[in-house]
């Protein structure tokens, strides 16, 4: 799978990457209305990672449904919509709208974006707020609902359980970790919103830990992400309990990173004589 916000709306990637080979394509998070996004600079590099504060720019869900979805439907790959709003009602409206559309396999609730002023992060730092969004959306659709969680919490397991109890069909984790970098000569934060979200290999060990905690706490599937560069990284998440994995920041360095992960996983299964990757899900042998 691709991680939301790192693969555009698929279109941008179509001539570089065979979209049909992807397990699923999660599009950049959509909102009800068009948004310009945050001021620049929006990104900066950090050791083995990067900080971003993009701020969910986009032309809005109607534009996507009219212009981009028809293009994606030419491919066989399941399309997962990612949506965000400032209030519960906006999430609900987005989900209701998506529910009507064919060619959308599932809906991911981005309740963990650190880079928008209202909403976003505010929901998934709190179990009750998480449950509120998820249950409202649950009532608005029969499509599978994925709750995407933030790592910026004391106990992600508690949030995941709240999402599960409120009717989420899966958990996606993790979104980015709040971070800051400062240009010591200009004394300015390197990101125009001062704080942004850290992603890339640097955060992988934190993401694997959180996926393990979530998988130990819920029964619904977990979609693991955070710094996956190759098949071995993906396997860490799978062993920790992820049923699926998503590639994000790696795509920026190598547009075909997601396909590389798929190829690598197949090679690993062959090498180890494992019939189905399911056998590896949660198969970590913890020390006691």
């Amino acid at each position: 799978m691709t991680a939301s916000g790192t693969f555009g709306y698929g279109r941008e990637m179509a001539e570089m990457v065979d979209l049909n080979r992807l397990g699923a394509l999660v599009v950049k998070t959509l909102q009800l209305e068009a948004r310009p996004g945050n001021p620049s600079p929006r990104i900066c590099e950090t050791p083995a990672g990067m900080i971003n504060s993009i701020g969910l720019p986009g032309a809005g869900i109607e534009h996507f449904l009219a212009e981009d979805l028809p293009f994606l439907r030419r491919y066989e790959t399941p399309v997962i919509l990612s949506v965000a709003g400032c209030r519960v009602e906006e999430y609900e409206a987005l989900v209701r709208r998506a529910d009507e559309c064919e060619g959308i396999a599932a809906i991911e609730l981005n309740i963990s974006c650190p880079n928008v002023k209202q909403g976003g992060l505010a929901f998934s730092v709190d179990p009750a707020a998480t449950a509120g969004v998820v249950s409202a959306c649950r009532a608005a659709t029969r499509k599978p609902l994925i709750a995407k969680l933030t790592p910026n919490v004391t106990s992600i397991a508690a949030i995941a359980r709240a999402a599960e109890d409120a009717g989420a069909d899966a958990i996606a984790a993790i979104n980015t970790i709040l971070a800051m970098a400062i240009n010591v000569r200009t004394r300015r934060p390197r990101i125009a919103t001062n704080v942004g979200g850290l992603s890339g290999p640097a955060i992988r060990p934190v993401a694997v830990r959180m996926v393990w905690e979530i998988a130990s706490a819920v029964r619904i599937p977990v979609i693991g992400m955070g710094g996956i560069m190759n098949a071995e990284d993906a396997l860490e998440f799978i062993l920790a309990g992820a049923t699926a994995v998503a590639v994000g920041t790696a795509t920026f360095r190598d547009p075909a990173a997601a396909l590389g992960v798929i190829d690598g996983l197949e090679a690993f299964l062959r090498e180890q004589g494992i019939a189905r990757i399911r056998e590896l899900v949660g198969a970590v042998e913890v020390w006691r």
Partner: protein
């Protein structure tokens, strides 16, 4: 979204043919890539992976400098300013470079035979040399205006002369020719009656802003090659946004909507 531009980009593993220093901190990296040399256009850029490991993590963008279609090579001219370019500086013939290319749009050259002004500040000369190289065979008059802090840092003069361009030089410290910023040199030429069909500019932001103001004052179209921090280079991270002139807040992506922009579009006073 500019996907038509980045469309055919891909990762190439390119043999290093040479990595020589034309002086100062600068280096020219020549890469063997017959297909790219045939296909890339002046103003486009490539995204280079500098590190073997995960640090530095992101690729580094560089404009295309010279293209040798016959020889099947193209080159980059880069300033060794930090860790990524520091690693590149140690590459040797026989090494291979992981390069994502071609990226971005390219310079539009309007029909007609009138002279073109190419105004460069420092290493900003790179895409303008590429432009001169593409235009020179048509015989259209080219006038290069090269600015530098001091004469030692001047770059590209020999390139432009070799391509038959008229060259004028300005230095901030007066160590050569026109004393003052390069936009004042452009103004001086216009004042003495030089006429251009288009002004092309590349260099530090303040320099491009000043040049575009001079061009606007003279009623000349002006195209600039912009720089922004980039994560991907092909339009999906939305990290390279540049705010443009519009009634509402509006951004364009330097990597796929640019790097070449009509100067009238750009909001220069962005912090």
């Amino acid at each position: 979204m500019g996907d038509r531009v980045a469309a055919c980009a891909q990762c190439w593993n390119l043999p290093v043919v040479a990595n020589r220093s034309p002086g100062g901190r600068y280096r020219e990296l020549v890469l063997r890539a017959p297909e790219l040399a045939a296909r890339m256009r002046p103003g486009q850029f490539v995204n280079v992976r500098c590190a073997e490991g995960l640090d530095p993590f992101l690729r580094r963008p560089f404009s295309v400098y010279r293209m040798d279609r016959a020889g099947g090579t193209f080159s980059l001219l880069y300033d060794v300013v930090g860790r990524g370019t520091g690693m590149m500086a140690r590459w040797e013939p026989g090494d291979a470079a992981d390069v994502l290319a071609p990226l971005g749009n390219w310079f539009a050259v309007p029909d007609g035979g009138g002279p073109l002004a190419l105004v460069a500040g420092g290493v900003g000369v790179v895409p303008l040399v590429a432009l001169a190289e593409a235009v020179a065979p048509t015989g259209r008059p080219l006038h290069a205006l090269l600015g530098a802090r001091t004469a030692d840092l001047l770059l590209g003069e020999a390139d432009f002369r070799g391509l038959g361009a008229t060259v004028d030089v300005s230095t901030d410290d007066g160590s050569r020719d026109h004393h003052g910023p390069v936009h004042s040199l452009l103004q001086a030429l216009l004042d003495r009656g030089d006429r251009f069909d288009v002004v092309y500019a590349c260099g530090p932001r303040a320099m491009m802003a000043a040049v575009s103001r001079v061009a606007e004052g003279a009623g000349l179209p002006c195209f600039v090659s912009m720089e922004a921090g980039m994560a991907c280079g092909f339009g999906v991270c939305m990290g390279c946004a540049w705010r443009v002139r519009a009634d509402e807040v509006k951004y364009r992506l330097v990597c796929t909507d640019g790097p070449i922009f009509d100067a009238r579009e750009i909001l220069w006073d962005m912090a």
